[in-house]
Structures are given as C-alpha cells and as structure tokens.
Symmetry: C2
Subunit: 164 residues, 2 copies
C-alpha cells in the first residue's frame, strides 16, 4: 500500500521545520508511525568527520550503511534529483504517514506555513493541491486557514484528509 | 542479482577501517561500484544536532530521509538487529560489491585483519569461511596470508573470489 504523504511548504524562515517538529509527536500520540522527507537543493551535511562510516563514504563508497540493533542509516550517491514519490517508494517502509518538507511543485496535498511578519506573498494557491494555510494571520485565498500554533487542528486536518 | 559481499573482520584496533578505506579506491579504480556496511553493536551517532533532519528524528519520526540532487540519506528505527543479508537486501542497490565491517559470526567470505604487535589470537579459523588473513606477520592456520599493506593483492583476491 502506498504511504499517504503531505508536503509542508512555505518560504524560507516561515517555520516549516518547527511545524513538522510539533506535528510528529501529535501524530505519534494518536498511534501513527510518522516518517519525514526533507529536500535541500544545495546539498546536506550528515555524519561526523573521522567516523568509520564517514571514512568509508569519503574513500569512494557509492553507498554506506551503518547499523546497530535499534537503528540503521544509509548514505547513498544519486545520479539525479529524485521526485518525492521516488523517495517514498525507494526509502520508506513501515510508516503510516509521511511529512515532506522543502519540496515545491509536487502534486501531493500541501499545507503552506505563512507568517505575516515576513511580509511575503504565499507560495501556493488553491490549484497547487493546497489543503490549508497555517498562519499567524488570515490570508484569504479560498482555502482553510488554521492558526500556525494550532497543532491539534492541523493534525486533525491531516488525519481527516489522508488517514481516514 | 544478489550483490557479492565480503566481511572484513578482526579484533578491535586491528586496522579494519583503514584496510576498507584503502580497498574502496582500489576497487573503484578497477571499475566496481563499492558499497559498505558497518555494524556497531553499541549504537552510532550520525547527523548533527540542530539540523532539520536531526530535529525530525528527535521529534519522533520512525524514519527520516534527507535528499539533495546528488545524495540521499536515511535514518530509520529498527525493532531488532538485522543480519548482514537483510541489510544488503533492504538497503543496498546499484553496487557491484559490498565490504562489510564489524560483523562476526556471519556465513559470508571473510578477510581477517591481524597485527602481531597486538599480541592477540586470530578471531576466525578456516571453518569460518576465511578466505585470507591480512597481517603484518605470517600466522599459519591453513589459509592464505597477505601483507596487510598489499592492497592490490587483497583486491585481487576479492575480485578472484567474488567478482569473476
């Protein structure tokens, strides 16, 4: 079965990671296993210099896995940017819902994080499969607007739209 | 097709990671895509405090993927320790050979790294599917012994036994 996925979008510094960080325990508390996907077009820095896994990767391994009894990590080279559904299908198993952060222009349902103080326009419109806006104000663009701090309400919306 | 796997074993501080680190570029130079698996029974520390992916995982995500156009990383919770073949089958694609480090008691072909100065006995015997010993001395246990610094010779042995 395909794992339901919702994309948390928003301009930089709008508070996407903070919202994801609050939604995860709220959904876990309701019994859902939550996975996340983060995209960073400029690359990312993971692992610590000098660790064995870091040394393997630096020596030229195309993929390095490090495992212990409770956790596994994989770092793998890619030949091209993957789409959100490719990432979901190739890397995520055993989750009930996926929160994706930092992907734009995908076809998945979305919540846009917005803060009036940044004085910027919204990134998405109704036509972008936008389920709701999570904001500290009330932008009127014909989709529901939830309070950015109403984590329960936002989780309710995710459950209602993706998990029921 | 199942990816051939060789396990690099040895007592602690024998130089396993250093050997793996030298073998990777030697095999890559010969045209093979090399993946590695490292096992650490005491757990591992990956990712950096405060990074978005770190915040997702800490908030309770059962799996977190971070992706950029050239690389992807996955950190996933496990309910039990996985065997080497489970890790290979679940996490490694697109490699020609896998070097595994730190797994004991597995059925895969092995090279044992040994240094006389540590004054310790060997970990494996012929019955453990030991292809060779890589040592700074010449322990006589009925399997070939290669010089610990003869990276080309050790790579030849891997190619001959696993990749031809």
């Amino acid at each position: 079965m395909t794992i339901p996925l919702i994309s948390i979008v928003g301009k930089s510094n709008s508070g996407k990671t903070t919202l994801v960080e609050k939604l995860i325990p709220e959904l876990v508390k309701r019994g859902y296993r939550v996975a996340t996907i983060k995209h960073n077009k400029h690359g990312f820095d993971i692992d610590h210099e000098g660790k064995d896994s870091w040394r393997h990767k630096k020596a030229g391994a195309c993929a390095t896995v490090i495992a212990c009894p409770t956790q596994v990590a994989l770092i793998e080279d890619l030949e091209r940017d993957l789409s959100l559904d490719e990432i979901r299908d190739n890397y995520i198993k055993n989750a009930d819902v996926i929160l994706a952060e930092g992907f734009k222009g995908n076809p998945f349902p979305k919540i846009e994080v917005h803060r009036a103080e940044l004085q910027r326009e919204l990134l998405c419109g109704k036509e972008d499969n936008l389920l709701a806006i999570a904001s500290d104000s009330k932008p009127e663009i014909g989709v529901p607007c939830l309070d950015i701090n109403d984590v329960k309400g936002i989780a309710d919306l995710i459950v209602k739209n993706l998990l029921k």
